[in-house]
């Protein structure tokens, strides 16, 4: 059965799913972010919520509005090539990260799998400018990519029993920045003290899909000093708006 993309399919009785690709693809993910922004700019009547993920856009609607919303989505999809649309306004984040040692116990292993020395791996990871492809698993927890081919590392066969909140892990050409302490099959290469979700903040969830992020390398001491001064629990991260 061959499938064509993008395609619109129902998800339950009160949502439509616009899928741009069946597998991880940078252009399709950009299209998701741009299409959702286009949708939010002129929300069709009856739409109650939109969201973008790795390869799709979810459009929740009033149960009676399915046909009208479907037709509006068809029109919007046809209006342009969404993978070629300039990205919407977004933030560029710099999130300090301490690589290796106790803060990144699997850095050496991951570097060897990528065919790099530890120093070269830190240089590569700390200079990679990645995009928030999707948020999920825990509130505000980002999947970031897409990293160069060398980082197409398989997940571990066994799970690491737990990584701390703020752990930076790597697999399948992506970073995940853990929003909570959890077990994982991804390899921990570094540690940030970035709180993905903090209910007491004016902006409880810091990141949005489409935001761009780098993880500059800092020493374990500098990481902790900067985090201690950061009352917003962003671990010393800074950001600017990109237009």
């Amino acid at each position: 059965m061959s499938e064509t993309f993008p395609r619109i399919e129902p998800l339950g009785e009160a949502a439509l799913l616009v899928r741009f690709a069946p597998r991880l693809d940078d252009a399709a993910n950009r299209a998701c972010v741009a299409f959702r922004a286009g949708l939010q700019a002129a929300l069709p009547e009856g739409v109650t919520e939109t969201a973008s993920s790795l390869g799709s856009v979810l459009v929740r609607h009033d149960p009676g509005a399915a046909d009208a919303v479907k037709s509006a989505l068809d029109d919007l999809l046809a209006a342009r090539d969404w993978s070629a649309v300039d990205p919407p306004e977004r933030r560029l984040w710099q999130i300090p990260c301490s690589y290796g040692g106790d803060d990144g116990p699997q850095l050496a292993e991951a570097a060897a799998m990528a065919g790099l020395s530890v120093d070269a791996a830190i240089a590569a990871l700390s200079s990679a400018r990645v995009r928030v492809l999707a948020l999920g698993f825990a509130p505000g927890m980002p999947y970031l990519g897409i990293l160069p081919e060398a980082w197409d590392l398989p997940r571990q066969t066994g799970l690491t029993p737990k990584v701390p909140e703020g752990a930076l892990v790597v697999a399948v050409r992506q970073f995940v920045l853990f929003g909570t302490e959890a077990p994982t099959g991804w390899r921990q290469v570094g540690r940030t003290l970035f709180g993905c979700f903090e209910p007491s903040r004016t902006r409880p969830i810091a990141l949005s899909p489409g935001d761009e992020v780098t993880f500059p390398s800092v020493s374990p001491g500098e990481l902790r000093d900067r985090a201690a001064e950061d009352s917003d629990r962003l671990g010393g991260a800074t950001w600017e708006v990109l237009r």
Partner: protein, 322 residues
Amino acid sequence: MMEVVSCGPLITLQDRGRPGHLSQGLAEGGAADRQALREAEALLGTIGAGLEIPGSPLTLRLTTDTRIALTGAEMSADVDGRPLVWHAAHPLPAGSVLRLRPGTAGIYSYLHVTGGFDAPEVLGSRAAHLIANIGAPLAPGDRLDHAPSVGAASRVTPADRFGGGLLRIVETPQTRLFPPDDLTRFENTAFTRDPRGNRQGVRLASNGAGFATEGQLNLLSDFILPGDVQMTGDGVPYILGPECQTTGGYPRIGTVIAADLPRALQALPGAPLRFRFVPLAEARALTVPAPQVTPLTRDPAEMGDLLGLNLIGGVVSAKETE
């Protein structure tokens, strides 16, 4: 205000949740049994946030005259030793001690007051979302703020949903990845609700083989919603609940329609559950009938000590003032 005299685990404030944050990885959450909210609303008018009680004992002391509504899974309830009818609203005077004890029907019970309990809103909702670290379970000594309220006793006819049964499902984008024979077998399988389950989802048990798609470990993670019936790696289905993760990689064989989701989540361990695919148009055309409320006539068979009854519910008590 109410004071928590004693309570069991995992009693939380719930409302209709916080929609609008799926893109940020935060599930809508909110009450597991939305029908119980409709019934409480029919009894009280506005309900705001109420207590969701997952089969845990709870004793509360009221400090103001308060009209409460008891909906969802029936518990054994009494106020100062006088039994209270479930699926009903009762005006209670200040000073009353309300005791709720687990019953044998359903999982989630609800206690509401007119206007709701007050608590800080996080992202537009007072609902606890424990996995996301929002809110906390009730603890002895907690105080629950709310406005005083009065009114008559009344009864609501509960929608039938507490004994398991048939769940109508619609197709998902992954349904056709399952072989046609497996879809037929899925509809013909008598499942039971497994003991393992919580607000994230409930596991189902059956005697037959599992259900799997080809290449299901390679699917791109995509949105999941409450009601989705997700097949895990070993082919065991889970019906996802209000605190399910926002995205997932395992295929969903179908989605339980909104009208039947309370039946799925209220099924006790061991309760029978079956699935039947229905056309999407049929599911969308369904309307849930408005709950019917009638005055609560006091049947002596349902009363304890007649002399202890508050026969003039709604009159302000002089026992205690706030």
